[in-house]
Amino acid sequence: MPGLSHYLVVSALLFALGLYAVVTRRNTVAILMGVELMLNAANINLVAFNKYAAPSAMQGQIFALIVITLAACEAAVGLALVLAAYRTLETIYEDEINVMKW
């Protein structure tokens, strides 16, 4: 019977995978994928705490739904930024986008 800590461990591993993608990938789209994995890990925590720590309140699931909405916004704006960067700088590799670094 999986308990709260089982879900927290899965979420921690998923978060670490996303973190690894964010700090090591060169492709900005792959970095955004890592961010999505990290947001999913946070959502698992929210829903698991909702069930095991405060079952009569729905706030955990409400917050998870809002995080999903904001993740959709983040993906739309982030990918628009990637397209804009590709059009002006002709690269999407984040270590080559350095016009603001001096």
């Binding site: 019977m1 990938r25 789209v29 994995l37 720590a53 993906a75 990918l79």
Partner: protein, 164 residues
């Protein structure tokens, strides 16, 4: 081992296995395609946690919309799979160490902390309770989210529009 435990470990394995492919694949299209099983595994975990509405929204928005958006961005930028280019920067070893340390820290904290066991039960029909809560107690959050959606829509159009 109960059926619920078997399903849990199966879903966790699918999620984390697909996550490893997302993170390590040299072909960026394979990474984007592997996002779908990762998101669907998380959906299964939501169903195990009695969060049916969150599971449905997860399938619609993550597995449906965000994956397609990411695939579109890949097709519009690189004109292919990204093969041939180096996909990882020179921080790969440090990044792996940091991620492993973060995972170890989070797991130790999650396992050793005595989380309070909640009293009460989940409502029998959570989508109804979520709807009531969004239009009652949480209406300010609901309206604020709609403004954020509108602003991000306009921002995405403004940023991605071709200057002329």
């Amino acid at each position: 081992m109960t059926g619920e435990a078997i399903v849990f470990y199966l879903l966790a394995a699918v999620t984390l296995g697909a996550g490893v492919v997302v993170v390590t694949s040299g072909n960026i299209v394979h990474s984007a395609a592997a996002l779908v099983p990762a998101f669907l595994g998380v959906t299964g975990l939501y169903i195990l946690l009695n969060a049916e509405f969150v599971a449905g929204i997860q399938v619609l928005i993550y597995a449906g919309a965000i994956t397609v958006l990411i695939l579109f961005a890949i097709m519009l930028t690189e004109g292919g799979t990204g093969l041939g280019g180096r996909q990882r920067n020179e921080q790969a070893a440090v990044g792996a160490a940091v991620a492993a340390a973060m995972a170890a820290l989070l797991i130790v904290v999650a396992v050793r902390t005595g989380w309070p066991a909640g009293s009460g039960t989940l409502p029998p029909y959570t989508p109804g309770a979520i709807g009531q809560s969004f239009l009652g107690q949480n209406i300010l959050v609901f309206e604020g989210t709609s403004i954020v959606l509108l602003v991000s829509l306009m921002g995405a159009i403004m940023i991605a529009r071709r200057e002329d």
